[in-house]
């Protein structure tokens, strides 16, 4: 299938002031640094990474929801979203919608459920009142809420139900792409499954394309078709689901996967944990070489001197590591 979304050389910078106060020259924090990826129609790209990796900023940039300086290209069906303004943006916002992390703070507490779901239709389209009512009714059914609940306020719903309202709102304008920003991390485990199943069902039903942001690799493994792993603003590895989870090439990806606590005693025995010590580097003072080198168990001198580029390391598999050779992880030797 064709690429619905084509992101090219996307960078997002934020101006920050450091020591020196008001008269100091602003310095820039590059939250997303020259990343490129594509997403096929009807598929799910997961962006994973730890806090501060830039995954949310990258995803929200696609929805034109970041205030920083954005450069690069974001092509949706071939049309660049970045230069759009006002009326064109309205059109674009119908096509790209967002489901937010926290269903407690992302719904206006003073509005009724039906008004929240209808809001994108009010502000982005010129549909008639009866059309909108029909759409809202359909959405309530689609996300598994009762029609009687339409007049209730957010506080009268449970967390899972609130997230259903958020999903209904995102679906209201019949978007092409939905950015799911940690859609289940604020929910109880048993409720997570309900929402994840719903998201997958809706994807098939409406042919949706998801950009799925999560730090939970179990959830990602279940939801995605391909995965981009981010570290300090860079994509360090990008592959389809099976290649990434079965053969992680970048040492950071391998460490991330091995850090997930497992219920399977066999798996616990097998995969010795790859511990990465310390914390990520200061984003305002990034090393000139590989950003992961200071924590990498196999880093060499060249890793600290030259930043690795994301390069093809197999079919549908890219990794940004000097030491990856022919689909073999540099950790292959030290992992038993």
């Amino acid at each position: 299938m064709s690429d619905l979304l084509d992101v090219q050389n996307l960078s997002v910078r934020f101006g920050v002031r450091r020591k020196g106060g008001f008269f100091a020259k602003p310095t820039y924090l590059t939250a997303v640094d020259d990343i490129s990826f594509t997403v096929r129609k009807g598929e799910t790209l997961a962006i994973v990474g730890e806090s501060g990796s830039g995954k949310t900023t990258a995803a929200l940039a696609i929805a034109r929801l970041v205030s920083g300086l954005t450069s690069g290209k974001i092509l949706l069906e071939g049309r660049d979203l970045l230069p759009l303004d006002r009326e064109d943006l309205k059109d674009m916002r119908q096509k790209v919608q967002v489901i937010f992390q926290d269903p407690y703070s992302s719904l206006n507490p003073r509005k009724r459920a039906e008004d929240i779901v209808r809001e994108p239709l009010d502000s982005l389209t010129d549909k008639s009142i009866s059309e909108k009512r029909e759409i809202v009714d359909g959405l309530f059914k689609a996300v598994g809420l009762h029609p009687e609940q339409k007049r209730l306020f957010p506080h009268q719903f449970s967390g899972g139900q609130r997230q259903r309202i958020g999903i209904a709102r995102a679906l209201s304008t019949q978007p092409e792409v939905i950015i799911c920003d940690e859609p289940v991390s604020a929910l109880d485990v048993a409720v997570q499954a309900q929402i994840l199943n719903l998201l997958r069902r809706l994807q098939t039903e409406f042919g949706l394309t998801y950009v799925f942001i999560s730090h939970d690799l179990g959830v990602v493994q279940h939801m995605c078709d391909s995965v981009a792993v981010m570290y300090m603003g860079k994509i360090v590895e990008h592959a389809d689901r099976l290649s990434l989870f079965n053969n992680p090439l970048h040492p950071y990806t391998a460490a991330l996967l091995s850090a997930v606590p497992s219920v399977d005693p066999m798996l616990r025995e097998q995969s010795r944990r790859i511990l990465i010590p310390g914390d990520p580097p200061d984003p305002l003072d990034l090393p000139k070489g590989c950003r992961f080198a200071s924590r990498c168990p196999v880093a060499e001198a060249r890793c600290r001197d030259v930043a690795p580029r994301l390069k093809l390391a197999g079919s549908n598999h890219r990794a940004a590591c000097h030491l990856v050779e022919d689909e073999t992880s540099p950790l292959a030797g030290i992992r038993s």
Partner: protein, 328 residues
């Protein structure tokens, strides 16, 4: 050997607008010397409330121990004086919380906060406490502990702050460490570091650990035994690997199978996750004489709605409070 901690027929009542609700309803548990157990369940099932009761930190005027006993090293805690409880807290039983930012004081340096515990509980001098605090920071593997003593919490990362919390909790080498979702706010690689640290410290000091979590993976990594709680009651108890391999309560089964776990040798095949429909009942429904999980249970029968299931005992000290435990 007698257990270090023994909770018997504990009932904790919480005063709500709708009346008094039993947030903990007839709970029994034991914790051995050097043992690590986990309390598992969704929010609102009474995991944290049990921990707070053990610490003598129930919300004043709202929560109270209605009946039952909590014995720590042979000493009854439910009737202990506030003064005695203050001595025990921090010294013998200490606790680390979910959010290391909000549980540290933002206007004191971490050094001052660790030293304070040592001065208050062990009567150390300013200087001795400071010195000891540096050693503690070193023990929780914070680089440059001497200079980090002068740091304020905001100058540290989340993982480092949790290390500081652990240093404070372990300052007086407590017999029990209660860790209430200690890594929920942290990234997985940092979580792995914290788990390793806790395991090492436990091996060195012989501290018993009670971990509160909803992550079965974390339970499997950290504990020998787990207690699954639902709506203020114990649903299931047993050795971790056995419970995970074969749950004897539908709720436990639901908790394990509703989560997409990382698997080795992933295949194209993907099935829907098992859903546990509905949510945990509200406090007003606690305490009824029926199985409180019956409204969400796939195996529910009339019996479940008519009477509270007794705790059925199985081999290997496994317990399940389900009418159908035999069949599972």
């Amino acid at each position: 050997m007698a257990p270090l901690l023994k909770v018997e027929n504990l009932r904790i009542e919480l005063a709500t607008r709708a009346g008094v609700a039993p947030v903990i309803d007839n709970l029994n548990l034991e914790l051995g010397h050097g043992e690590s157990i986990s309390f598992v369940g969704e929010s609102g099932c009474g995991k944290s409330m049990t921990a707070l009761a053990i610490m003598g930190l129930l919300p004043e005027g709202i929560g109270r121990v209605a009946s039952g006993s909590i014995q720590f090293d042979g000493e009854e805690l439910t009737t202990a004086s506030p003064r005695r409880l203050r001595e025990i807290r921090g010294n013998e039983i200490s606790m680390i919380f979910q959010e290391p930012m909000t549980s540290l004081n933002p206007v004191y340096t971490v050094g001052e906060q660790i030293a304070e515990v040592l001065r208050a509980h062990q009567g150390l001098s300013q200087k001795a406490a400071w010195k000891q605090a540096i050693e503690l920071l070193n023990a929780v593997q914070i680089p440059n502990p001497k200079s980090r003593m002068e740091s304020y919490p905001f100058q540290m990362s989340g993982g480092q702050r949790q290390r500081v919390m652990i240093a404070i909790a372990l300052a007086c080498t407590p017999k029990i460490l209660i860790a209430d979702e200690p890594t929920t706010a942290l990234d997985v690689t940092v979580q792995a570091q914290i788990f390793d640290l806790l395991r090492d410290l436990r091996a060195q000091t012989g501290t018993s650990i009670i971990m509160i979590t909803h992550d079965m993976g974390a339970v499997a990594e950290m504990s020998e035994r787990m207690i699954v709680m639902y709506a203020g009651r114990k649903a299931e108890e047993g050795p971790v690997d056995q419970v995970i391999a074969r749950a004897r309560h539908p709720y436990t089964h639901g908790l394990i199978s509703c989560v997409p776990h990382i698997v080795a040798n992933l295949t194209e095949e993907r099935q829907d996750l098992t859903e546990v429909p509905g949510i945990v009942p509200g406090l007003s429904e606690f305490g009824q004489d029926l199985c409180l999980f019956s409204s969400r249970c796939p195996r529910v029968t009339d019996q479940c709605r008519q009477a509270r299931p007794p705790e059925a005992h199985f081999g290997n000290s496994r317990i399940s409070a389900c009418w159908h435990a035999e069949e599972l």
